[in-house]
Symmetry: C2
Subunit: 188 residues, 2 copies
């Protein structure tokens, strides 16, 4: 019989991030995370395939937020405008009250080479997914990939700025500014 | 006493790529690669730290080609123009007669998930290095990262097109076209 603990997934996640931040990601075991919230290691592995998944488990939903934005653009928009709208709309994935969590997560990733690589691969997968969604809308290559990768770059730069901020500006606001900088660079 | 075999590094590389392509990267051992050119496994490891390094060992020189281009740009150029010139000048790293080697390398990477990840990380490192070189020239963030990442995207798209071609156009030529497409997307 599989026991279901209400809110256990979220409690495990909070405990995991605290331990990763204080002890280091490598040095923390799944058993310790579970023990910190009065659960067993076995329960941990019902919620997360491994320690990394606590940090990267939401990749599918994250990616979907961007792809949905591309799918729902109206016809005739320029590829870069579709991507800009999708990136800004996906910023709803990171509401202001998520900033402290995202900052802690960012610090944990910055302290571990393997997690940094994993984060880079997540960004590469996002670019591939957005380019695919643009092609589905009939936007040919290389425009689809160029626009998608530009969107990933803007997201990465804006997200880093958001993490380094006190939350005074929303992620979407910062993204708007960075998109404008990109267009200015290209001479628009 | 360490014996030096003239041309052994290059012979090992050619043999390795043939075996990776025919047997698969995972299924090939260092001993087999060495045996294919009449050398010992120990000699293989004098030239390459591991099987992956046969494919990725030139990363430092590769990156240097781009960074040198940024360092040698004249003052007052716009960031994206500096990057475009650097990317096109680095295409000298891939002369036309290197295309068959690059194509075989590309096929080996496409067939192996771990190698694909390694290639993505190589591209991420290139972007970081170019952004650093731009900052050294006094170009502030976010312009440095936006320009550098745009350069990486153009390189990736152009390189894929070059690999898929019969070599009728040089890599530098293809890069010029893709840069123009990027600027057109941004409305320049």
């Amino acid at each position: 019989m599989v026991r279901w603990e209400p809110g256990a997934g979220e409690r495990l996640q909070v405990a995991a991030l605290e331990l990763y931040a204080s002890k280091g990601f490598e040095q923390t075991t799944a058993a310790e995370i579970a023990a910190a919230v009065g659960l067993t290691e076995r329960t941990f592995f019902r919620y997360f395939a491994d320690k990394r998944e606590v940090i990267f488990g939401n990749q599918e939903l994250f990616q979907k937020a961007f792809v949905d934005g591309i799918d729902s653009a109206f016809d005739g928009q320029a590829p870069l405008d579709i991507v800009a709208a999708a990136v800004i709309s996906a910023s709803g994935f990171f509401p202001p009250d998520r900033l402290p969590y995202s900052q802690r997560r960012g610090e944990i990733i910055a302290a571990n080479h393997e997690l940094q690589e994993r984060e880079l691969l997540k960004m590469a997968a996002l670019g591939t997914a957005m380019a695919g969604a643009l092609r589905e809308r009939g936007i040919p290559e290389p425009a689809a990939t160029l626009a998608a990768e530009s969107g990933v770059t803007v997201f990465r730069v804006a997200f880093a700025e958001w993490l380094g901020s006190d939350g005074g500006r929303s992620l979407g606001d910062i993204e708007r500014t960075i998109f404008a900088e990109l267009l200015a660079l290209a001479g628009r």
